[in-house]
Symmetry: C3
Subunit: 403 residues, 3 copies
């Protein structure tokens, strides 16, 4: 491995520019990270989870990546990397960051901090323990080929570095191992079984909090200061919660690759692939259908400034400023009655995406024909047994970027 | 600080009577407590939570308060107190309780026990640690001015010492800090962020169970023997559960300043400010609207001996002996059809609060016109698309105090 | 107590055959186990829980039972046993298993492993601690007479050794103590109260995760490798989850003596006594009524290959291949409209259990008349206010065992 100390910033800059100019340095880096993996208690070659202290996403911090490639003597082109970061590699890398050491204040140079902490941690590994530190690089958004890559993509979603639905997550269920999680730590189910007799007779079983392939979001990523999750189990790793979102502990759930794009109150379910806009209130027990269940393949979007009443169920998209009353259910085939007067009002806030007019005083439409439109209020008329729709009383904020 | 030993009960009685007769001794004490505060890991001046070992409420244990005021040399009138209880202050106070020491059996004299435990704990504080022990007194129910006051009021609600909705909780969201809670202990989010790289590289992150301004009820207050909460996250501190209440772990939730006044089965949501009477069954996923969401400003009360079916949604008040069928939703504007025959039966159990009669064989009423009435059964007539109401089969137990 | 070493397998076989031929050896053994009990912190005679390392069910491992009976000098007939297993008894038993010791590999001879671990654990008991190890035998399925028996039956259900609804659980609520559970361990509520002042003043309260008579399933029994519970609180001990079942953390819950008989997706509530078949999808917030609530006394069964839409509510049984749309509610008295054409199609997959024909083009039936039938799809016709039923599009797999 390459040993080289860079004493000055000038030497450092020259060094990384040199590496970055080489053919083998990737033209595009989706993400890279120094990770610490956790291995199976019985199957030591199985990666159960991967800690990502710093996720470098979308071509960020490529200088530090150059240092690591140099220290590891990587000189051939690659589309992905998954390499041991042993003590020598960490030390070689730190040698090149010498000119930064005086600047460290605990809040900056996160990749250098990671190497320093890795250097400490590697010294504390128990004898015989496999080195769990890796350098992982992804250049293209293809299906993940290992667990650490999968964790990097889930991190990118949960940190908001990648938009929801923007990443290729194919095959991720197959990569992840179904684990028993205790105190934030994963255990193989067969390990729990293997120690069960001993644990019970000694009165000291492991307290299992959940069993899943995915950990909770809170075990991997911290929230913005004004964001709340009142029960960690309610939000899977890979979900994205915009700052200001609150997830209540009643009937709520936010699956991976789903979440909010602005501050929202979430007391209901945001299924996988569902995106909710800003200032929207998902009432207690409200359910938004995802693509994993049923045969639904079009992911659902709920707009800004919507209100989903308690125990409502929604299987179409909503534009901005929509309301569904408590207890109402809208499947794509639900028949919805609207008067022409209300159609006119709704059309006024859906320029270019209007409901076709008719001569009748009212139309009965399939809910899917209303999918994605702004300003609709859905209600059950309980004196006639009709699901009706009309213009909601919410103001529609026009997206100025589009006008 | 005043040093004085009181050897006999007579001396003690004379001492406290003397203090209590002074002008500066408050005429009314809403509550007082010796507390242990928990401070921010980064912002050491920020109170994250406050342990209240004993809450003295509504002018109780004023003799012990007099001892503390004397020991702290408080000789000026006050409307609230928030004072350091250091080692000397605790010792001075204990000196005055000397005549009680022989009686202590671990179940009595709770304030003296608190001082004794404080004396031990203060000796075990780590060097340089700020003294976290305070004497907090509230004389009037005005908005809280510090976190310990807020915890005292939430305690009073959760212990049932103050009725639900009876306390001024204005500004409480602003006082409380949004924390990451682990193993019952609060951490500042910025602390979790600050240690994240080190924690992940060493493989020892803190296991975060929830992120909220409020802790769980069970972290602060214990339940009556026959009361159950099958998931601690489901009940926020400041909720009140009468003895015999069970909160199931499915879709239930009980927010602060809400709860039950008698034994109830709770499998649904009791939103903030909602009060539920005794022997009422809140079915799985049933939702009762609160004042925090929607524009609802009249808090909802559900009476005794009611049954809310699974996945029902209720946004009006119910009197006693009401039923709503599974899946039904009653907003204030929901149109409800009732025959005159059933109106007569309902009126018979709502003396002084009857539904106006009409000549028609049936009326269509807004649900808000039925709010708070006894003995109504709401059902969807699924052969006609009508929300109908009729006299429930439940007996209405008349409140004998009112007759 | 009987001391006797058996050096060879032949001696062992002869020894156990001798005991098993005796009159006092039970003709039928429902279950037996070596258990470790946990006692009250204040009431040391109260059993709070019982660890069952190995549940021997339905006449299994009777040779090992014979060894234990011999070692304990049990020579009189019995219908149940509940006996101290002290150090001498464990050693006497191990002496008889000498010929097996060379074969132990950590995955076999579970009862011998249990005795070996018990021997270690008994040496580590704190001085003065009551011996918590017992031999418990149940010969008949009568109401439980102690907590360890109750735990054995709940284990049998949760491990799938006994079919759901097959065991006599009468009086089980009375036997179990309502405990505060922390880190998998039960505490008496009065103990938590007794230490509360000390715990709060020292800043070290016990972190209570739930308060219930039953622990969680995951604290007692491990899942099959492809089975998941995303929140341990959601599944009570005594529930049964067939391999391949996933229980999501939103609004789901599986009570004791209820569960699934094949792989299912569970995002809703499976109340006590409800059985769900294989390949059935219980949508988010869907509720299946149990016998503990309401006045319902016929337990509900949901067949194979069914789909319960989000927030649907079901209080009748479903055959195979049934669908209920999102948000729909079916009580036993719900009026359901079906055309004769659809009745004919439904009857075609319900041989021997058909709906009576009529001359009318459509019938309005009570939902209870459709209980348990195959291939029905329930939907709200929101243009007419009618709950309608028709033949579902799901194939009905005929149970070949019945044809």
């Amino acid at each position: 491995m390459e040993k080289l100390e860079l004493e000055t910033k000038e030497e450092f800059t020259k060094y990384i520019e040199d590496i970055q100019s080489k053919d083998y340095f990737p033209k595009n880096v989706l993400g890279w990270a120094i990770v610490r993996e956790v291995y199976g208690q019985i199957n030591a070659d199985k990666v159960l989870m991967s800690y990502i202290p710093v996720l470098n996403w979308d071509n960020s911090n490529l200088g530090s990546l150059a240092v690591l490639l140099g220290s590891l003597d990587i000189k051939a082109p690659f589309t992905e990397l998954y390499l041991d970061l042993d003590k020598a590699a960490i030390e070689n890398s730190l040698d090149k960051f010498k000119s930064f050491m005086g600047e460290l204040d605990g809040t900056n140079h996160h990749n250098i901090m990671t190497l320093i902490e890795g250097h400490k941690a590697i010294a504390e590994l128990e004898a015989g323990m496999v080195n769990p530190f890796k350098l992982v690089v992804i250049t293209e958004d293809v299906p993940c080929s290992n667990v650490s890559q999968a964790y990097m993509k889930l991190h990118a979603l949960s940190e908001g570095k990648a938009p929801l639905r923007s990443l290729n997550l194919d095959g991720i269920f197959g990569l992840l191992t179904n684990c028993a999680w205790s105190n934030g730590f994963p255990f193989e189910l067969e390990y729990i079984n293997a120690i069960s007799i001993q644990a019970k007779m000694s009165g000291q079983p492991i307290n299992i909090e959940y069993v899943d392939k995915f950990p909770t979001l809170l075990s991997q990523v911290m929230l913005a200061p004004n964001t709340r999750i009142l029960d960690a189990k309610k939000v899977r790793f890979g979900a994205q919660l915009a700052a200001g979102t609150t997830v209540m502990p009643g009937a709520s759930y936010v699956n991976f690759n789903a979440g909010t794009e602005g501050p929202c109150m979430v007391e209901g379910r945001i299924s996988s692939s569902v995106i909710v806009g800003k200032n929207t209130d998902i009432g207690g027990g409200a359910s938004i259908a995802g693509v994993l269940s049923g045969g639904n393949s079009d992911p659902i979007t709920i707009g800004d400034n919507c209100l989903l009443g308690a125990n409502s169920s929604v299987a179409i998209s909503f534009g901005n400023g929509c309301i569904i009353d408590l207890g109402c259910a809208i499947a794509s085939g639900t028949k919805v009655t609207i008067t022409q007067e209300e159609i006119n009002k709704i059309n006024a806030v859906n320029e270019g995406n209007t409901i076709p007019e008719s001569d009748e005083p009212a139309q009965v439409l399939k809910a899917s024909e209303l999918s994605g439109k702004n300003g609709i209020h859905f209600r059950m008329d309980s004196s006639a047994g009709l699901m009706v729709a009309f213009r909601s009383t919410f103001e529609i904020e026009l997206n100025e970027d589009l006008h």
